[in-house]
Amino acid sequence: MTATEHGFDPISDYDIFSPSYILDPFPVMDEIRESACPVAHTERWGGSWMPTRYADIVAVAQEHETFTSQQILVTAPPAAQAEGPYAGVAAPPISSDPPEHHWHRRLILPFFSPQAVAKFEDGTRELCNRLIDGFIDRGEADAAADYAQQIPVRVIATMLGVPTDMSDTFTGWVRGVLEAGLTDPKVRLESRLNILGYFKREIDDRKANPRDDDLITTLLHSEVDGERVPEDYVIGVCNLMLVAGVDTTWSSIGASLWHLAQHPEHRRQLRDDPELWPSAIEELLRAYAPVTMARIVGHDTEFQGCPMSAGDRVLMSFPAANRDPRQFDRPDEVILDREHNRHVAFGAGIHRCAGSNLARLELRVALQTFLARIPEFELVDPSAVTWAGGQVRGPRQCMVRF
């Protein structure tokens, strides 16, 4: 391929927000990965480096002293002074570096263990059935907007103890941070302040009226070394749970349905052999990993021959890692019973997605419920499917008929 085919030179000028990259980033990733320079660089969108080989991306994730989490989105955040009282609020533990990272993470992990998230399974299945009830008689539906998008936001709202009937508002704020806001600083700032302001009010309300079995109340009463955790930490955790728990899982559900709509043989395999589900979920996560995270270089260093300076941004494209033929046999094929699958859809190292057990549960229940009620379905028009990309990749409009 050449620069003109992509609209940019992949090695020295990639554009993660170009329409062709958002629609299908894999040709660009493949070209970079197989070139003499598998760590690409661009000056676009504030500048960044982009490794494309599995081993390099995992190394960036694991070398957290060199590749810090001072910033984690693919473009720079709003200026601190613009955030007023919320300038100190981050999204712990994803935005934390050691040593604080340790307690920031340890405090929330018990809420997301496999044992702890199991209690959300029945409610998630009821929710999925209710959504399907709403469109099954129409014979067609938007698998992304009418179904996938509606699920994780309600599960997270339930977990946090905030009203599920605010779901559309929450979704709008999250998209403001992770989609439109990445290239529009004004939208990003407004969305961020909406989220932080909302949780500040919810926290104030719980201080006056504590609730039972409510994650925000539990966090407020948490102690580390005999002291209550700071309120900014609690606001930050709520911020993270909303921002990281909605767009990501919804994208994964949507992309998996997009795939299954085009592969009747995979629908049949899952119907005939339900024991395939655990490996099938991992394979769909591998092939359609939604998330690209960023790191900030902590000190001048050389990485795979590239001179990186303190402050440089490095993108960790988990979709690129998961399609590296050095790690995965036939990486562009979905093989539901893939034997060895060290995929990094949830990242790797100390920042591995804390919510992965919940995400897997939602993905499995959403797909199982959909396939049980609607065994046969197909895309209405493959060319009409729209995608979001850059930070979180997944379909946003995906009409299917059944």
């Binding site: 995992v58 340890r106 992990l109 018990p110 997301f112 263990s113 496999p114 044992q115 655990p278 490996s279 991992e282 034997e339 060895h340 699958n341 060290r342 995929h343 990094v344 949830f346 790797a348 190292g349 100390i350 591995r352 992965s356 057990n357």
Partner: protein, 64 residues
């Protein structure tokens, strides 16, 4: 066959428990624990090999 998990390398992906739920589980923080004491029953060996091959952190060691 025996199996152990390097607790420093494990970051709680739970890929092992998905591949071999009879052998691997999770502690309160979601990190992997080995549920089988001593030798792995022969009929579970293939699942344990699969678990080892699915760990993104390469935290699982098979002995024997």
């Amino acid at each position: 066959m025996r199996v152990r998990v390097d607790a420093d390398a494990c970051h709680g992906h739970q890929s092992c428990a998905i591949a071999a739920p009879e052998v691997f589980g999770a502690d309160d923080y979601g990190n992997a624990v080995v549920l089988v004491e001593g030798d792995i029953p022969v009929e579970l060996e293939a699942k344990v090999r699969r678990a080892e091959g699915n760990c993104p952190e390469r935290a699982i060691t098979i002995e024997g």
